[in-house]
């Protein structure tokens, strides 16, 4: 009776581990650079499109996946340049690139949907054995997590983190914040496109709309992960993002199992993100008010007792 449930949770974990790479990309822009980057909806599909077209044309899947990553880097660099050099508002830069990428993705694919189930992909051999498949996916997600952790602890990585934390300060210590921003957005979209390429190979299909709502799914993963697993250090935060992506996919799978309408899933995701964003604000406000009341009454009690003392 539990069998189908376990099966969908296993499937959700497979997908979640690949989506985790996308969520790590969203983490770079949203948390590190403090730059909500909507390019993601376009660059995810770009990754899938490049991988699909190259694999169907007989290129090595590794090469196709690498090219997808590079295409994501380029898309992110464009958004970064629009924002830093073109002085366009960050949200708008992302929206513009997302729209531009929709047409570019169609050009790459030539049609809105490419199925390539029968072609040899990175997963076609390993997915036959469920145990190896899981091990490989876990290894891949954690390899990228550790690589990102390391990058964020290099001199360049520190400058990147400081750009989102205190741009004025890092400029006074000789970093060009335009360059660090472009690098950050670029790496972010590289990871997103890589994730798109891998998802396309897992599913055996690339669809022009596969990236729609990806930014919200990425945010949901980051926020759920941080809420459950904490984010005190970079190492913890990226770990939380990976687990967050898996948890998000499991929630998604459970909701589908409970026969919710798949069309409602984007609404549900948006609600999850809204609740996760609003709850901490309310919590903080309540806590602050409580603390202020407590301290004020303590101080006023102390003051009145000392004034009584003075009168005697």
């Amino acid at each position: 009776m539990l069998q189908p449930w376990l099966h969908s949770i296993e499937g959700a974990t497979h997908i979640g581990l690949v989506y985790a790479i996308m969520a790590l990309g969203v983490y770079i822009t949203y948390r590190i650079l403090d730059f909500p980057d909507l390019t993601v909806d376009g660059s995810f599909t770009t990754g899938g499109a490049v991988a699909a077209i190259m694999i169907t044309q007989g290129y090595n899947p590794w090469l196709a996946t690498g090219a997808a990553f590079a295409a994501g880097l380029a898309a992110g660099a464009c958004t970064g340049l629009l924002h830093t050099k073109g002085k366009i508002n960050g949200l708008l830069s992302g929206i513009l690139m997302m729209i531009a990428l929709y047409s570019i993705n169609l050009r790459i694919m030539g049609k809105p949907n490419i199925g390539f189930y029968n072609e040899a992909s990175l997963f076609s051999e390993i997915s036959k054995n469920p145990v190896t498949y899981m091990i490989v996916l876990v290894a891949a997600a954690f390899f990228i997590k550790f690589l990102l952790d390391s990058f964020l602890h290099t001199d360049i990585g520190l400058a990147l983190r400081a750009t989102g934390d205190n741009a004025r300060m890092i400029r006074s210590f000789g970093a060009n914040t335009d360059i660090t921003t472009v690098v950050g957005v670029s790496v972010s979209n590289g990871l997103v496109a890589l994730s798109g390429a891998l998802i396309a190979q897992q599913q055996g299909v690339t669809d022009i709309n596969m990236g729609v709502g990806m930014i919200v799914a990425g945010l949901a993963s980051v926020i759920i992960g941080e809420a459950i697993f904490g984010a005190r250090t970079v190492f913890r935060a990226t770990l939380a993002v990976v687990f967050g992506a898996i948890v998000y996919r499991i929630i998604y799978a459970v909701a589908l199992r409970m026969e919710m309408n798949p069309q409602d899933m984007k609404l549900i995701t948006a609600v999850i993100v809204i609740v996760a964003l609003v709850l901490p604000t309310i919590q903080r406000a309540l806590k602050n008010r409580g603390l202020a009341r407590k301290r004020s009454s303590e101080l006023s009690a102390a003051a009145s007792s000392s004034s009584k003392g003075g009168a005697v």
Binding site: D155, L158, R161, D165, N166, R168, F173, G174
Partner: protein
């Protein structure tokens, strides 16, 4: 060392709000000069700092450091020579990063940043030694997030971050003004010690008249975008706050009006 010639800067040029921020500033600092700057509101003290550090570019005039004309260079390229401490204790450090990561960023001020590790054990050892001299126990908290420190601790850290790499020019922009008196005293004391010991060429804007007289070897008074008085070491030694204010009134023809002025 640092030389400004004919530096002029207007705000809102050609509009009804046009304002002379700096007019014909000629200023030369010798190596090791520690110059304090005082003046009314809107005298141009902060603009002077911003022109030197590259936050603003002069409309006309030249800024030279060690013979290089730098007035066209952006802020981040001038940081090779110049380090700064801001008035706001929050401005000089990255709160979500640790003390050692902040120091590591400051350590890279003069270097090209690479993919090498930001914090290494040898750097950590050096950071600990430098932190020790602040005498506020930060050497035991290398891994703590800077956002957890008090304003005074953050400003002490900012001061260390600006100075331990021995900049050619140190700019201090009212860096004790936002602190309570006890903490301001600590930062003033540390500033004096560090600047003297490392013989840093320093420009310090202050609202504290007593501090302006006591610290440094030269005092500059500004009004309406001009330098109206330049007092060398010998005359500065015997000066009192009331003499200084009297001098200001005599030359400028009005009282030193500064809503944050501290007399002594």
């Amino acid at each position: 060392m640092l030389q400004l010639s004919k530096v002029t800067k207007l705000f809102n040029p050609g509009t009804p709000d046009e304002k002379v921020a700096l007019m014909d500033i000629d200023l030369t600092f010798k190596p090791g000069d520690f110059v304090t700057v005082i003046g009314s509101n809107g005298a141009g003290k902060s603009t002077l700092m911003n022109i030197i550090s590259g936050v603003m570019k002069p409309d006309i005039g030249e800024v030279r450091i060690q013979g290089n004309a730098i007035q066209k260079l952006p802020e981040h390229e001038r940081s090779r020579w110049i380090a700064r401490v801001f008035q706001d204790p929050m401005a000089g450090t990255a709160p979500r990063m640790t003390i050692e990561e902040n120091l590591s960023i400051a350590y890279s001020r003069t270097k090209k940043r690479s993919f090498g590790w930001g914090v290494t054990s040898s750097k950590r050892k050096m950071f600990r030694e430098h932190l020790q001299r602040l005498g506020i126990g930060l050497e035991h908290r290398l891994g703590a997030k800077v956002g957890l420190l008090s304003g005074g601790e953050r400003q002490a850290l900012s001061l260390l971050m600006a100075t331990f790499t021995k900049p050619d020019i140190l700019l201090l922009d009212e860096h004790t003004a936002a602190l309570d008196p006890a903490r301001a005293d600590l930062i003033t004391k540390l500033t004096d010690e560090i600047v003297r010991e490392m013989k840093l060429t320093t420009l310090m804007v202050t609202h504290n008249m007593e501090q302006a007289i006591r610290l440094g070897n030269r005092l500059i008074m500004m009004d309406k975008g001009r330098i109206i008085l330049d007092i060398p070491q010998e005359r500065k030694k015997g000066l009192t706050v009331s003499q200084l204010l009297g001098e200001f009134e005599r030359i400028s023809g009005h009282q030193l009006s500064d809503d944050r002025i501290v007399l002594g």
